[in-house]
Amino acid sequence: MENQKFYYDNKIVKLFILATLVWGVVGILVGVIAALQLAFPIFNFGLEYTTFGRLRPVHTNAIIFAFVGNAIFAGVYYSMQKLLKTRMFSDALSKFHFWGWQTIIVLAAVTLLAGFTTGKEYAELEWPIDILITLVWVAFGWNMIGTIIVRRVQHIYAAIWWYLATFLGVAILHVVNSFELPISLFKSYSIYAGAQDAVVQWWYGHNAVAFFLTTPFLGLMYYYLPKAANRPIYSYKLSIIHFWSLIFLYMWAGPHHLLYQALPEWAQALGVTFSIMLIAPSWGGMINGLLTLRGAWDRVRDSAALKFLVVGVTAYGMSTFEGPMMSLKTVNQITHFTDWTIAHVHIGGMGWNGGIIFGMLYWLVPKLFKSKLFSEKLANIHFWISTLAILVYAIPLYWAAVTQWLMWREYTPEGFLAYPNFLETLTQIVPMYAVRVVAGVLFLAGFLIMVFNLAKTMAAGSFVNNEASEAPALVPAGSRNPVRETIHRWLERKAVRFSILTFIALSIGGAVEIIPMIFIKSNVPTLDSVTPYTPLELEGRDLYVKEGCYVCHSQMVRPFRWETDRYGEYSKIGEFVYDHPYQWGSRRTGPDLARAGVVGGPMYKNAAWHYNHFMDPQKMNEASIMPNYAWLAVKNIDLSQTPKKIRAMQKLGVPYEEGYDKKAVDDLLAQAQGISDDLKASGIEIDPKKQMVAMIAYMHKLGRDISTGTEVPADTIQTASTEFKEVQLLNNPEDLAAGKQLFQNTCVACHGADGKGIATFPNLTDEEWIHGNTPGAVFHQISEGNVAKGMVPYKTMFTEKQITQLTSYVLITLQDENSK
């Protein structure tokens, strides 16, 4: 047959490679800064744009969509052309794809730092960018399918099925999860509420892992591993079976992110079952990859590219075993909300994605530039540094996770939480966070070595934008010959039909989970006592979303005694029906806030406390790693948006009365005035229009609707002093030391380490006493508290003995120290 001449488009591959390198450095660098912030809060720089809440989404988006995304496209554009023996279908589409994607990345970085976010993890970008992503993604798919149609080989090789599945999977996920109602260019509300939003979001979040971080990489593995090892893949049959099983099963597993949470039992069961089943196809892929190298291990020893690919595939095997284990309810109890999850994703990200990308680049760049790798030795150094970095990253975090979990659930023999102050459990693990910084720096150093090595390789080589090649044209295949062709092979020949089947396999899982959650009402039982947010609370909630508080705080109390004792009543599905978006969070770097507004509950703090805490958390508690939010006291609420927000909420089904949007601002100002007056009583002057006031209102709304009405009028607590019980002070050193320890762990947050009181909180060392300084009076104060003023009633957390020790510490040690 006549050979046709054509040109491979190498330039587009080069562009994507360069973008991979640039965004890789940026993404990792931001990760290192975020790690620094968790170890040393000073690195939040006191600026709203650089707090952890805003930086973390920049890191995750930069790594996933910028670094990994560009690497995928580089790998796909190169291998597709070679596999199908043709140039990409359309140069214009390729260009649009490249520049469109880079625009999205830049817009993402800018808007996330500016605080424009939907508050849904890994889908934080606001609606205009979502639309742009859709357009670019369609261009990518169109280009890919077009290329398949104009190909010069009959058979579509395994790698390309994975690319197609990637295109389809991401398209479905992105569209379904991004349904939002815009209220301005920069702000929208998810159309789903509460538990529904959570199911859709984690169906998306989990499958972003599947279809952005797994399927394209299996595709890359099926091409670059055989190429780099110069051996065919181990079993082609295995690749077919594991392809169909994997894409079918993945779509079901999302609810494993929501175990023990406010989700119907059936949805949780589904998530667990399918997660466990996922081990099989995942390991099918790993085994197929590793066995490809059988008998070629000597080559692995000599080639950094192969070493990276092997580590990648091995890390894939580890993560896909660990993941299903983490979906078991008992294990999930430990891993969820702790650093376990963070370690897990970094094994996947640095090991699997990083390994495949680095391996691919070390093989591909010399090939494209027709030269040898500048230095195999530097590549090996990169390999060892980055492998070490993965270990230094993961091991301390696993340790931290277990340590913190054990502390959260430890009880004293008397049946009280051993560490009632959340901060104690955090202080224990902050050293691990410092180690993590080292890991990040190592990984970055290795990456920079690679950039240098590849740059040198490029400089030494020669590059042609359009590489000439020739191949015979493809004879039209005609209909299936039932004797000679099996169904799968026939399907693969037909790109479009193949895509449709893939689409169906993908849709089933999502549909079965999401449709009942949204359309069967009984899945979300409503609670009558739950009322919509007042306009002020709504503004506060939007600030909570904007500042990214959800990256550190959960709002989801699971039904374990050690959680309900610490935070309060466990969370119910019906509480969240007005939450657009839901804000359950996924990691508890700080304490859960679902019950922050339950007066008399263990989490309640009064307005003055919140004010001082937001102004400077480290002043309240030196060991805190929460960033300060001092600008909340400076910036005003944007009142012009409030009526629009109310109308949007009404559209989404929140039952505000007709025409409420017109009254909203007045209501908002009235409520704000109340909080401002309350603060004034504590000596804090603040204009009611400030964002701080809205944030405090929101904090006080959390959990209030379902609290069982323990609102105690302030004066009933202050009964006549004659009713105080006799308290014998304990003045031996052991008891005083025990009292001191309790005080330092718990009371410092308000009364200060020296007992002199922070900001407006009472000094316990001077002569002035609000309620008297008899042992009985002080004991009473500590045990009953004064919830209206913000003093916590400690009788539910400490034994009488402990409270007596505290009383003694206050009246003996603190008074003594002060009189010196």
């Binding site: 080989v153 049959k237 119907p264 090649s469 010959n481 099996t486 799968h488 069967i520 009984s522 039982p525």
Partner: protein
């Protein structure tokens, strides 16, 4: 708990989705497995090896 019991009653209707899903998977899996296993090994070898032979002007097998 009232809420819990409400959720439980709603399960009856929904379990069916769950079971259907599992059945679809098992059925599909069996079909794909059998089909794949019956493919000719020589064909498989041919495809596997094809990607390693993409030298500039080399003959490409397009036969099925």
């Amino acid at each position: 708990m009232k809420i819990v019991s409400e959720v439980l009653t709603s399960i009856e209707g929904i379990r069916i989705f769950y079971i259907i899903g599992l059945l679809i998977f098992v059925a599909l899996f069996i079909v794909i497995f059998i089909r794949t296993m019956r493919m000719k090994n020589s064909d498989m070898e041919e495809i596997k090896n094809s990607i390693l032979m993409d030298g500039e002007s080399e003959e490409v097998t397009t036969s099925n």
